[in-house]
């Protein structure tokens, strides 16, 4: 019997995952700025403070490094903290705790401890929030061994990846996209998990592979639909996890399609597209490449406040269509 189809927004799906985890496990608590009575800057935590009380839905002062230190300590002491950064940009204030402490403890203490910490990070541009509130820093953090980094692109994955992150014995950073919070999608009611480290093939094709992350998955799918009308069949892979990377899915896809485009919002230079390009160049898929690898990423600039420039600073659907068409037609 199929469960009846139920749609939630991406934000509601995250809230449901938080509530599910807190109901199931007394050790789980959440902390962050304005997540209590205010319900969170993006209304993700909503009324959870009324359901679980201020001891488990904790407002913190505006002190990211302090909050992260408390969360790392609580995780070491046996709790399951979930720390919300109001904007992913503010995680830069907490780098010492994230990079030097959370990511290192298990390794420096011979595996005798672990840091089961989840960090939630609203990220990305498109809201007119300017350069200090619009970044996509996921590749930064994915560069640190000891951290896991996921980027859900759908309400379904937002819930399933968050639950998997809470289960995980090590620190996991969940990069949520601010423009996706209101996106609706089918979300089962049960406490399912989406495995960390497993990409999803969102559309099958044989002429080119697009590896996309977060909101770019949807732009890639729009582009693939248009290109399908021209006879160009594009395979779209939703990476879902940046670390650990699902190399097998990407390599198999490129071997099939012989062309690769990486589409991501983070700055193009030294970004996730560079890693995937190099991965293919080093893999058996190299001998299957029939075109140069294409990277479509954010421009090398802080995100502009001007809305026209803000849009131009990251890949948009028309540009993806044009460039992938050129890729398949042998024009680049």
């Amino acid at each position: 019997m199929n469960a009846p189809l139920r749609e939630l927004t991406y934000a509601q799906a995250i809230q449901e995952a938080l509530a599910t985890a807190m109901e199931a496990d007394k050790r789980v608590f959440i902390m962050g700025e304005d997540i209590g009575v205010y319900g969170g800057a993006f209304q993700v935590t909503g009324d959870l403070v009324h359901r679980f009380g201020e001891d488990r839905v904790m407002d913190t002062p505006i002190s990211e490094l302090g909050a992260a230190g408390i969360a790392v300590g609580a995780a070491l002491a046996g709790s399951r903290p979930i720390l919300e950064f109001q904007f992913s940009d503010f995680a830069t204030l907490a780098m010492e705790q994230i990079v030097n402490q959370a990511a290192k403890m298990r390794f420096m203490l011979g595996g005798k401890v672990s840091v089961p910490l989840v960090m939630r990070l609203p990220s990305g541009s498109g809201t007119g929030a300017a350069a200090q509130h619009s970044q996509s820093l996921e590749a930064w953090l994915a560069h640190v061994p000891g951290l896991k980094v996921v980027q859900p692109s759908t309400p379904h994955d937002a819930k399933g990846l968050l639950l998997a992150a809470i289960d995980d014995p090590d620190p996991v950073m969940v990069f949520e996209h601010k423009l996706l919070y209101k996106m609706k999608g089918e979300v089962p009611e049960d406490a399912y998990r989406v495995p960390i480290g497993k990409a999803a093939v969102r559309r099958e094709g044989r002429h080119a592979t697009i590896v996309a992350t977060s909101i770019m998955v949807h732009r890639a799918l729009e582009a693939a639909e248009v290109l399908a009308g021209e006879g160009i069949e594009v395979e779209v892979i939703d990476l879902r996890t940046l670390r650990p990377l699902d190399t097998a899915t990407i390599i198999e896809s490129v071997k099939k399609t012989t062309r690769l485009a990486c589409v991501y919002e983070g700055v193009k230079t030294l970004g996730i597209g560079a890693e995937i390009s190099a991965l293919i160049a080093e893999s058996e898929a190299f001998d299957y490449l029939d075109a140069p690898i294409l990277r479509l990423g954010g421009v090398d600039s802080p995100i502009p406040y001007n809305p026209v420039l803000e849009k131009a600073a990251v890949p948009q659907t028309p540009g993806i269509i044009e460039q992938v068409r050129n890729l398949v037609k042998g024009r680049i």
Partner: protein, 404 residues
């Protein structure tokens, strides 16, 4: 800074070019506008002039080498500049001749890949692997990608070409390497004959009135100071005018095929095949429907002369919706021609020959010319092609109508 001399793009689709001849050598003083070298493109030879005054140095492109458009081929040093500064790139080796690789059938159809400075041919990893598996040498495959890069599709194309039968012992024949023109003719006409659905229509045209009018017009041609006629109309001039007039009367046939659309033209531009040493050109007489016969005649004389000297500009042989191919001067009675894409038609014209034809039950001797129109059925259907050819026949048989 020395002035860079680059290989310019002189033709729309040009990705690479070959320097046929240098007219200067290292150390020569040149003035702006002086002839530096000749480029051979697929279609023509073009002369390239010096972009500034100075001493020519660092000539890096050898005669005969195929080089990418935009590459620096020499430097011009101005007064006071030291030619010692090694600003020029590595000299390029001339492109390797086509080696009869394991498969002697690999005949290139497009641009031969340009060897890079390292002597390697640009190819995608997949193309390299497929070529190796298929026993094909990369240098025998024409690359269709940017900078002549060979893709998997290019290798598949080369592998799919049927093996040419070995019908003579090596040494018993002379090998003539293909030049750009021969390669282009082979490529374009193979494409046309294989992909354009041709059908053919034939008529006989009576030349009685046309011959009379032609004689009278030529007798009245104005004379120059040496008492020689300024122009002399040929039958072919009438054919050009008649074809243009027919296209004006049947505008739906004045078209080209553009894959996603049919382009219908406002003016009637007629190409004329001109045989030249080693190939042919089809210069185009623009708006021939609005030009007088002497105008067409003089223009055609100039175009044909410059075609034979390979001095036509690309703009002079591009375009047109039809071409006239006349082999009458060889006594050919009748033939059919291959359409020059994207044009929609081509008219094959035979010799004017005396034939007995029935007129009111009597056998009468008339001079007739047999013309066959090849049509691209995608753009011109049977009835439309027939209307065009019927209109052409009317203008040939009643030349006075061309004045209307």
């Amino acid at each position: 800074m020395p002035i860079e001399v680059i290989l310019p793009k002189v033709d729309m689709d040009m990705a690479t070019g070959k320097i046929a001849k240098w007219h200067v050598k290292d150390g020569d003083a040149v003035r702006k506008g002086a002839l530096l070298f000749e480029i051979e493109t697929d279609k023509a030879a073009m002369e390239i002039d010096a972009p500034g005054d100075g001493i020519i140095r660092n000539i890096t492109a050898a005669e005969g080498a195929i080089i990418p458009v935009g590459q620096t081929v020499a430097l011009i040093y101005q007064d006071g500049e030291s030619a010692a500064a090694p600003a020029a790139p590595e000299p390029l080796p001339p492109v390797k001749p086509i080696t009869p690789a394991p498969r002697p059938d690999a005949v290139p159809t497009a641009v031969l890949p340009a060897a890079s400075a390292s002597g390697r041919f640009p190819a995608t990893p997949l193309a390299r692997r497929l070529a190796k598996q298929g026993g094909l040498a990369l240098e025998s495959i024409a690359g269709s990608g940017p900078r002549g890069r060979i893709s998997a599709a290019d290798v598949h194309g080369a592998l799919a070409r049927p093996a040419a039968p070995q019908h003579a012992e090596p040494g018993s024949y002379q090998v003539t390497p293909l030049d750009g023109m021969r390669r282009t003719i082979a490529q374009r006409l193979t494409l046309s004959k294989q992909t354009v659905p041709h059908f053919y229509l034939t008529v006989n045209c009576d030349l009685t009135r046309l011959s009379e009018i032609r004689e009278r017009l030529n007798a009245h041609a104005p004379r120059d100071e040496r008492k020689l006629p300024v122009w002399k109309l040929s039958i072919n001039d009438f054919i050009i005018k008649a074809m243009a007039s027919a296209l004006r009367q049947v505008p739906d046939a004045n078209v080209t095929w553009a894959d996603e659309a049919i382009h219908k033209y406002h003016s009637c531009d007629v190409g004329v095949a001109v045989a030249v040493e080693g190939g042919l050109f089809t210069p185009v007489v623009r708006a021939a429907e609005s030009k007088s016969l002497p105008q067409i005649s003089m223009e055609m004389k100039d175009l044909a002369a410059r075609a034979r000297a390979r001095k036509l500009l690309p703009s002079e042989y591009q375009g047109g919706t039809t071409t006239i191919s006349n082999l009458g001067m060889f006594g050919i009675e009748q033939f059919t021609a291959i359409i020059n894409p994207p044009q929609a038609t081509i008219l094959a014209v035979g010799a004017g020959l005396e034939r007995f034809v029935p007129v009111k039950g009597q056998s009468v001797l008339r001079t007739q010319m047999t013309c066959a129109l090849s049509c691209d059925h995608r753009a011109v259907d049977g009835a439309l092609g027939a209307q065009l050819l019927a209109a052409f026949k009317t203008f040939i048989e009643e030349p006075a109508l061309m004045l209307a």
